[in-house]
């Protein structure tokens, strides 16, 4: 009986651990890839000429100066390759538990360690809710 309890607890632990793994490895992050003049970690980095950015094995994106692009990645560990202005920098990095990050390409190319920072997405604009869709009628028959 004790053995069964032990096995059950063990299994439960495994499920919990698995969930934690799923959570961290499945967590989606939006990376805002910036090629603007920006101040990151106290240093100012000027925008550079067009860069080609490859995150993990996603399709490379080209970012012109003053432009921004975004990619969605999931999980904690990532690799970014930036080539532009004659140099190619490849970097491995880990993302904390946040939904959105601002990544400054100039800062990365400059070798600044603080080249990305978490960014709170803005609250959806009030205009979104103009449609008073809400408070649904329960139990209504759906159009099939």
């Amino acid at each position: 009986m004790l053995r069964k309890l032990f096995i059950r607890i063990l299994l439960l632990g495994a499920v919990v651990a698995f969930s934690v793994f799923l959570f961290s490895s499945g967590k989606g992050h939006t990376l805002l890839l910036d090629n603007k003049t920006a101040t990151m970690g106290g240093h100012e980095h000027a925008a550079v000429s067009a860069v080609t950015v490859t995150v993990d094995s996603l399709k490379p994106v080209k970012i012109l100066p003053g432009e921004r692009d975004l990619v969605v990645v999931k999980g904690v560990h990532h690799r970014i390759t930036v080539s532009g202005a004659g140099v190619t920098v490849e970097k491995r990095f880990e993302l904390p538990f946040e939904d959105m990050f601002l990544c400054s390409m100039p800062a990365l190319l400059d070798g600044d360690d603080a080249w990305f920072e978490a960014k709170r997405p803005e609250a959806p604009k009030a205009a979104d809710d103009s449609n008073k869709e809400e408070v649904p009628v329960a139990g209504e028959i759906l159009p099939l």
Binding site: S19, G26, G28, E133, E134, V135, E140, L142
Partner: protein, 377 residues
């Protein structure tokens, strides 16, 4: 002898045959191309099959059509809402939603089973009403507690008033991930292979389950509760387990269903789950007391075939697509009504038949419960 065998086959499968004929007639009317229909059927098979299969185990246990699978659907939706709130993407999201949904559906299944034990003989209507009741609680949680008591990080999910989940939740992160996990395309037809594998695994599970001691106990309980109880099988517990399994499977089924659709209608997606699954199973030739995996398979194909073609057929016939919509409604409700009536009829006939067997035979009743003890005369 041969003749009567054919007749009996026709009678036993009248519903299925009727639907086959109906489908064959409306396919040309609808004007859809066969490859299109084929693709649609393949998609819908993957989408709905799991839910339909979740009905099988309570039928084995003699508890009839489990209208309570909406409870599992709700549990799955709660899992999906949380997962989209946390922004967990891909297979991870689906698995995590399933893991979150499991304890909730076990709990709801336990409630459902216990309630059904208190209403033996009218399990169906009870589970049906219970579905509505739990729907009320679900709305309470999702519409009032989420965002106020239960933290919701992603404000985009929340109604403008500051709490409660929006009508529609976009499941963009997990949209068709399972379907596309193992991409397969044959002659331009996409096949959601991974989903099919999951469904196949469930079928294997059901086959295996019937061979276990628990499966045997379920069959015994389903056929004669009194005798099972007298033999020492914990009847009530076994029935609860059957419902729990069904509810958990329905939870997974709803997750599969919604990952295919890609949007969750927070307050509506689950309401029709039970009915459609049941209607499909019945069209496949199942009854209240007997249902097999082929029944589920055939039923899903026929039901959804009619689903796809009837609006267009209606439009062609009488110039109104709306008619097709109502026709589908009518079919879903009607088929359940007919199946229930047939079941009640058959049961009465069987009772009469066993009575007439007794006539002039042994002077005692069969299948009587042993626990009743001996009557003191």
């Amino acid at each position: 002898m041969n003749q009567s065998k054919t007749t009996r086959f026709l009678i036993n499968n009248a519903v299925t045959i009727l639907f086959v004929i109906l489908s064959i007639m409306s396919i040309p009317l609808s004007g859809y191309s066969l490859p299109y229909l084929f693709q649609e059927i393949l998609t819908r098979l993957g989408r709905n099959m799991f839910l339909v299969l979740s009905l099988l185990i309570p039928i084995i246990a003699g508890m009839g059509l489990n209208f309570g699978i909406v409870l599992g659907a709700m549990a799955g939706q709660i899992g999906l809402i949380l997962v989209s709130d946390w922004n967990i993407l891909g297979m991870q999201g689906i698995l995590l939603a399933a893991i979150i949904g499991t304890p909730i559906s076990v709990f709801l299944g336990w409630i459902c089973g216990s309630v059904m034990n208190r209403a033996k003989g009218r399990e169906m209507v009870t589970s049906y009403i219970l579905g509505f009741f739990i729907d009320g609680l679900y709305q309470l949680v999702v519409l009032y507690l989420m965002g106020s008591l239960i933290p919701v990080l992603n404000r985009a999910l929340v109604l403008s008033r500051g709490y409660g989940i929006r009508n529609a939740v976009n499941l963009v992160g997990i949209r068709q991930v399972l379907d596309n996990l193992l991409p397969l395309q044959i002659a331009g037809v996409r096949i959601p292979l991974a989903t099919y594998l999951v469904i196949a695994a469930l079928c294997l599970f059901i086959v295996w389950f019937r061979k276990t001691k628990l499966g045997q106990d379920l069959r015994a309980v389903g056929q004669d509760m009194g005798t099972a109880e007298a033999a020492g099988i914990p009847v009530e517990r076994t029935r609860i387990i059957a419902i729990i399994i069904s509810t958990v499977l329905a939870c997974y089924g709803q997750i599969i269903f919604l990952q295919n659709l890609g949007t969750l209608n927070t307050y509506n997606s689950h309401t029709q789950t039970g009915m459609f699954a049941i209607a499909a199973l019945l069209i496949g030739g199942a009854s209240v007391v007997k249902a097999t995996i082929p029944n589920a398979f055939i039923g899903v194909i026929l039901f959804h075939l009619l689903f796809i073609v009837s609006p267009m057929a209606g439009k062609e016939l009488v110039g109104s697509a709306q008619i097709g919509e109502y026709f589908r409604q009518f079919i879903s409700f009607g088929i359940i009504a007919v199946a229930l009536v047939l079941h009640a009829w058959r049961r009465r006939n069987e009772a009469e038949q066993s009575r007439s067997l007794l006539r002039g035979g042994g002077a005692r009743q069969e299948g009587q419960s042993r626990t009743a003890g001996i009557k003191e005369d």
